[in-house]
Chain length 297, copies 2
DNA sequence: CAGGGGATATAGAACGCATCTATGAACAAT
DNA sequence: ATTGTTCATAGATGCGTTCTATATCCCCTG
């Protein structure tokens, strides 16, 4: 029984329409092809499946038996093809992203809004965590891609540079006397500094920078979210180290101002990381595409 | 989406085995063929179905979705093919025959026993009735074939001659004085005659024969079964008109004897009738075959 | 009863496509 | 490094599906 399953499709339509000619039309074939296909099937089983008469065809008892199974089979195939079409058109499915809350809020949010509006059927799942956690999520297949600060070095991952961020020190109105002045790093250290928690990439980078100048950067306050960095600086609790792109609003309205330094601060790359050699899910690649073609801000 | 369903079979095996190479073996194909088939499927959907790595392949999320449907579909196809094989091997199904009780008992019984022993899975359904009823059953599709006395003239039916019967007159021991003598038809009429009921083919035939000699055959007793014909004759109630083949036992043991006539009685053909141009069910054609190849008695 | 119009079956040709072999490339393991 | 997996790619080949053309059968109608 080494049948071509294609024959079942022909059989199904012949049985459903009760006519080889109709089946041929439905399948965009000619009538002799259908006739031949049915004959092949009958010969392979050694069983006659149809009564032929001048009005068309009707199933024999054995044909009925076959139809009861093949009909089910066809139903599932139809469902499968509908599902695939839905997946391709993103009528359903889900998009799972890993990243830090700050990147979600200040970087991905507009894209996410955009995406959700375009494909409301897609469930969005945002997994926040530290960079190592995100990497683990990725390797476990729990997220489609991760958005983290560069650099990332992992042979299993592909990282694509995305947004470039420029971290800077900002302060609130109570430090207004520093406005317009250019500080050196050691002068800066005379003020209380508010940093992100220890295991963040930005925190590590800036600490290393100070160390390269022989200085030790010890935060007066350590917080776990970008929002708190901003809030504390506005309340005058200290000088926050934060991506400039995340505080554009505050800088514009004047509730925060950037402190000029006599040394350049290194820019920081945001990278999008995916599993190397793993194809993206449809929803993920659609999201990427959308993000690439959208002019942010 | 004009897919060749054959691709689903390949997909199913690739997903099930988690290896294109294994799938190729299962399908008696080469690995490149499988690779190509999967690629075709992926391109037709515009969706990546598998993660490829050096150990084999695993389904993507979209592939899982497809598999959940296609798996069901394949299950039904497998069941269908098993069912067809079972039907062909007559592991199940039914055989429905129409005929008279006498033919069932005296003609078909040995074949039926034989058939049942050979294919115990087949349900036997015997529908008895008069010849016109049998024809109706046949046209309504309620029986696979009918066994009746010839001739049958119906453009929708095909009739194949089967057993030839020789009707004759038999009497019991109280008519022993007739043994060895040769009677003429009118002499016969001086004795009570037992005939089958009016609507039987045998009754019609013999009545016509008498008419052709200008004689009128009126039964003293009219019965509805061959068994009663035999029984009444044995009990001495009259002379029964019955197929010689149905009373071989009684003739042999001497409880009945055949009355010799001076004119030949016409033989009577038993015919097997089927719907013209309708293929026989598998069980029916197997039965026919068996009956043809079996030497009765 | 002839003829038209519907159905399926058959024959033979042709082309497309599935499949093959051969090879490449990536990766894991020893 | 080497060997043995895996899957991917390229190109050739030949089988088998599909086609056109035609036959056949049956029903219906004028």
């Amino acid at each position: 029984m080494n049948n071509n399953y294609e024959l079942y499709k022909v059989f199904y339509w012949a049985a459903t329409t009760g006519s080889l000619t109709q089946a041929a039309k439905a399948l965009y074939l000619t009538q002799p092809s259908v006739s031949h296909a049915i004959k092949q099937l009958e010969e392979s089983f050694g069983i006659t499946l149809f009564y032929r008469n001048s009005k068309g065809v009707t199933l024999t008892r054995e044909g009925e038996a076959l139809y009861s199974y093949i009909g089910q089979s066809q139903n599932f195939i139809t469902l499968a093809e509908e599902k695939m079409a839905a997946l391709k058109n993103l009528d359903n499915g889900e998009l799972r992203i890993g990243g830090s809350d700050s990147l979600f809020k200040h970087y991905l949010l507009p894209y996410l809004e955009d995406f959700h509006q375009k494909y409301p059927g897609i469930r969005l799942q945002l997994n926040h965590g530290t960079t190592p956690e995100i990497i683990t999520f990725l390797k476990e297949g729990k997220i489609d891609f991760g958005v983290v600060r560069m650099p990332i070095v992992d042979p299993l991952l592909d990282v694509k540079e995305s947004l470039q961020l420029q971290d800077c020190f900002v302060a609130g109105s109570n430090y207004a006397d520093l406005k317009g002045t250019v500080l050196s790093l050691d002068r800066l250290l005379q003020h209380p500094v508010i940093l992100f928690s220890r295991n963040s990439r930005a925190r590590m980078t800036i600490t290393e920078l100070f160390q390269s100048y022989g200085l030790q950067l010890k935060p007066a306050i350590e917080v776990g979210s970008v929002d708190l960095l901003i809030e504390f600086a506005r309340k005058g609790l200290g000088i926050s180290y934060v991506a400039r792109e995340f505080v554009t609003k505050e800088l514009d309205e004047g509730s925060l101002f950037e402190i000029q330094l006599d040394v350049p601060l290194p820019p920081s790359q945001v990278g999008i990381m995916i599993m190397r050699n793993m194809p993206l899910s449809v929803s993920a690649s659609k999201f990427m595409e959308l993000a690439r073609h959208t002019d942010m801000r």
